[in-house]
Symmetry: C2
Subunit: 134 residues, 2 copies
């Protein structure tokens, strides 16, 4: 899709690779790269292209701001993502368990789960313990 490899695209890709599978907003990325001279629109345009190429996944949980996630060619293939509602961190379910889970859904509901589009929300093992402050 992209014809030229510009400085900005290189910068963005490098940044994304360093933050694979993290949920980042376009604005966060632009802010982190503000010293690299890349405009917000360039970030949006490149992210849109990367999404079309399948290298980036776009989603949103709050409904105000979209978040983008880099899915490296090989990394995280067939694994599901778990997002902690408290600390916000993303965890990775290994391919085996993810596949098992997908099978359950397929068998009981006849629903073909898309692993790369689905994010499971809940509390990670660390946040389950410190349930003090709510």
């Amino acid at each position: 899709m992209s014809k030229y490899m510009t400085k900005q695209r290189r910068t963005l890709l490098s940044y994304l690779r360093g933050h694979a599978d993290e949920q980042l907003s376009a604005q966060e990325i632009a802010a982190a790269l503000r010293d690299e001279r890349i405009s917000l629109s360039a970030v949006y345009r490149n992210l849109a292209e990367l999404e079309a190429e399948g290298l980036v996944r776009r989603s949103a949980s709050n409904g105000r701001e979209a978040s983008y996630r880099f899915v490296g060619a090989e990394a995280c293939r067939g694994c599901l993502h778990l997002s902690c509602k408290r600390c916000g961190r993303t965890f990775h379910m290994d391919a085996g368990s993810a596949e098992q889970l997908t099978q359950v859904v397929a068998k009981t509901e006849g629903f073909a789960l898309d692993k790369s589009d689905t994010v499971l929300y809940g509390l990670c093992e660390f946040c389950q313990d410190g349930k003090k402050e709510e």
Copy 2:
């Protein structure tokens, strides 16, 4: 939280009850209720309050528009939602299967899945067949 039961709130609640567990945007709701004389801001304000009260769930899949889902007091307790990426319809996984799935995640990942906040994306049984047009 809400002190008065206004005509608008009644209208909104009635509409939501008639569309329990559907993913609706604020604007869709306002449009559907345009004859009932309820303003867009009233819809937003009431939805926000209902969300705080736990009667409504807010989420978004595309990152542009938020969608709200009414979770009636009893309805859909402990069930997971499946959203078809093709036809957009929402399906309900029964409480039993959902619980089984939650157990798997808890056991293998130590992650406490929140059933009401999680939506599984994929293809429903109907759309899996008619895979023709992409």
